[in-house]
Amino acid sequence: MSQTIANPPVVRLGTDYIGKPTSRVDGTAKVTGAAKYAAEYNVPNLLYGVVVCSHITKGRITKIHAADVLAVPGVVQVFSHENVPSLAWFDHNYKDDVAPGGSPFRPLHEPEIRFNMQPVALVVADTFELARYAASILEIEYEVEPHETDLEKKRDDGYEPGRGKSGWMPPPPPRGNPNQAYRKAPHQHEAEYIHLAQHHNPMEMFATTVEWLGDGQKLNIFDKTQGAYNVQQYITKIFGLSKEEARVITKYTGGGFGSGLRPQYQAFMAVLAALELKQSVRVSLTRQQMFSFGHRPHTLQYVKLAADDNGTLQALHHSALAETSQFEDFTENVVNWSGMLYQCENVKLKYQLAKADVFSPLDMRAPGAATGSYALEVAMDELAYKAGIDPLQFRLLNYADRDQNADKPFSSKKLRECYHQGAAKFGWDKRNPKPRSMRKNGKLVGYGMATGVWDATQKKAAAKACFTADGRLTVSSASNDIGTGTYTIMTQIAAQTLGLPLEAVTFVLGDTNLPEAPVQGGSWTAASVGSAVEAVCQDLGKSLLKLAQKMDDSPLKGVDFEDVQFVNGLIRRNDDIQQSVVIRDVLQANGEKELTAESGAAPDMMKQMGYSMHAHNAVFVEVQVDEELGTLHVTRVVNAVAAGRILNPKTARSQVLGSIVWGIGMALMEETIMDHGFGRFMNHNLAEYHIPVMADIHDLQVVFVEEEDEIVNPLGVKGIGEVGLLGVAAAISNAAFHATGKRVRDLPVLINKLM
């Protein structure tokens, strides 16, 4: 659209929506309860499946007493490895788009138990209550083998993964002479940083409703997922179905944060049961079972940093050891960011995995970076104190104007402005650098800051646009809206591109009958689907122009697409805006009922290959600590973000606010506690796995730093769903140190670590 209105008249146009704060177009559906999630399609003749999970960690099932359960009136079937029909054999059939290297877990495939809470049976009954009851009395006998789930015991078993998942990059080779530089530098710091597993816990629990449409007919699979196409290809490959036979629909997703990137086992089970029983089936997981699959992995990190007396970084070592399952190598970029965020000539980065008897970890909001930036940014703070330099000044002194990992310039990088604008808004200049020096109302006050970097990625995506004679435009793509605002920003882009009022435009998503879009993750939806939506609307605009030129006395005759603008419901000439055609008249005048276009967008590799493309942020935090009791409140946060063009400041701000809340959770309360004796997560519920409540949240402010970028994609967007989380936990930890003089290096910072 930048081409469409290359030289727009100075007046703001009524149909310019991009960059304007816009309320969610799906808002009414969500506030009235009309928005339907996966478990809410109450199709006729529905059976209910309840999953039974293993309570042992390793071993094998020796007997399943299914007969007792099948004798209960209303129980339809007990599915387990004993009676699942022959399905696809090869690993690749079970690999989804986001699968890491290795051999994916196959539900109900074999008697072997590989991790605690492994799903081992599905009990199907006429009602949910009956299925739940029947599942509770199903007795399963196991032969138990010793397990090991503790990463701490695997410190010497680390290995460098050779096979990662898409998007994972092994750390770059070392540069300079990091060991020597470290030894020679006057200011050194080294420490270990730890966090345990964390779980996504979206509010909507995983669920799949499979609607059975008859023999040889199709399944409608209403699934909670972040990628309808990903689930479809997984299901079709495993069950040998055609795409027509397995339509996956996800209109609303009650939160994802990465948990829905891979198809979860309830989707497999619901489809299995529907196919076998030839009836519609719903399978919903319990909150406890939400702890039975992927998580942010328990990770041990070691950082060694050194600086000279001027505060110039001399050496940077960052290594990480993370858990993975016995069957897959889950990889995430933990340490790479450290070679890119600061200018440093001597860098050594290392990333290792160790196998444990756990389920494969899974991307969780800002995977890798949330982990890595925590360690790096606390270490930077520690070194700043040692060098006697203000932590913000220290970062400015070591600002990287070039990505040294890739040896490329940044396509754009306004991190310096994030530092300046964030610090100004926060009042960083009022900070007394001395720890324990600031007090308020009898509490210790601490100021801390940290920073982050995240990828700006565009994926290939397709879209369809249909303009009808009543003046309405429907644009569609099988993307998702996990709360990110996809419905709204795509509507804005489409409306602006074709100059239509927002109310005349509908964006449709979450359905494999629509053009393909990538899974919603990596903060790439705005760039990827947004570019496709813009492209398809431009294509439709070209067709509209042609039709408009056929109209009697058309003032647009003979002009090129580049010479017109689509605004305020008109197509008008750039050279004389009085010369125009009303868009909604175009089809009627030509006797057409509708006009459609299908198109797509892909990253412009030629343009991008010379650049490193990233979003950045700087976070400033105030905490108040009651030292005697160990209580800490995050009283103020300013998060300054440079993420390219902000399509909708209203929804984008919400994304960053949510990221801050996630950072507060990560810093202060979130950890999934495993009892390694049992190999089982013990706080597998929302009463004991604490996520922040409203009372934890005080003054949060978001600053968007203006950033233009013509390289990343035509829209100039970098994505906003993840970058805001980076640095938050580190900044809180750093503020806690400034307040108390106590350095906590294992998250979360609980009462007992500060008192």
């Binding site: 309570h55 042992i56 605690n116 209550e129 739940r132 009851y133 509770s136 308020k440 109302n441 009898g442 509490k443 009651d626 005697e628 009791l629 160990g630 209580t631 800490l632 409140h633 202060l668 309360m669 506690i673 009892d675 004796g677 049992f678 089982r680 013990m682 706080n683 597998h684 519920n685 009463a687 004991e688 604490h690 922040p692 409540v693 409203m694 009372a695 934890d696 609980l750 009462i751 007992n752 008192m755």
Partner: protein, 341 residues
Amino acid sequence: MNSFTYSPPTAVDAAVRERINRPDSAYIGGGTNLIDLMKENVAHPTHLIGLKKLPLAEIENLPDGGLRLGAMATNADTAWHPEVEKRYPLLNQAILAGATPQLRNMATNGGNLMQRTRCYYFYDLATPCNKREPGTGCSAIGGYNRIHAILGASEQCIATHPSDMCVALAALEAVVRVSSPQGERSISFANFHRLPGDRPELDNTLRPGELITALDLPKKGFAKNFTYLKLRDRSSYAFAVVSVAAALELDGDIITDARLALGGVAHKPWRKAEAEQLLIGKPATLVTFRQAAAELLAGAEGHAHNAFKIELAKRAIVRALKQATEMDYVLDTNAFQNSNP
């Protein structure tokens, strides 16, 4: 969840008879804990006796100047009752420190006493637990025990009682009134909950079939000098890591009466007469408070993950007593009054 039948009797004696006649039955008040336990298959009664139609929801003044809290009055109605707010503000604070508005609207006073521990192992059928299945062992000892007891535990069980309300009721020396086919009786609050000993499956001293009908608060409400201080892992909607109910009567600087009860540290709200005696007759000073705190924590034993609670409880007691006396108290408690983690 088990299958069960349900009946809502309208008279206490009918309810009690029904309970005796159906050994597999359970009373259900608000259901906030029982239904949770039934969904986890920790509890599996085959018959539920609904108490909501019983005439037990009144809150009324007693002739001796005390206040009777009906067992079926909700926690919310109790906390916000004008007599409770005015005369027993400690109870108001403790109730409001617990759970959420939704849960307090459902949970009943009797049910609050009957709620069971939040011990992870008790709740998880995959792990042995003496409280859930006597004789299977205690997984928390040697397991993960951050939320477990430091006082009064046994080799059989280190679970804690999770209530906030009960900590205030213990400090206020409420009396639990119960009914059974044998008639009515009263149980002092101190004797209502019990320590695990070698019968950890028993949380309290109720006899089979007995039904809580009311909680009687004595006249003395400590409405002037009191504090309920709750420390937890998030600012609201979390069980106490440690909580303190402190109530004092002062004559000038001299403490003339004192009550101290701890939550989150034992199988029952934790009180000790000797600790309170150390306060009575003494000036309200930090030295006195620390002595009382040390006495109340005497004999405390930590496990791998909860030893910090011993020192934390001491500090919390001193803070609560400071707050209760408003002595040199400069902390801005109001700012986070309802959101102290």
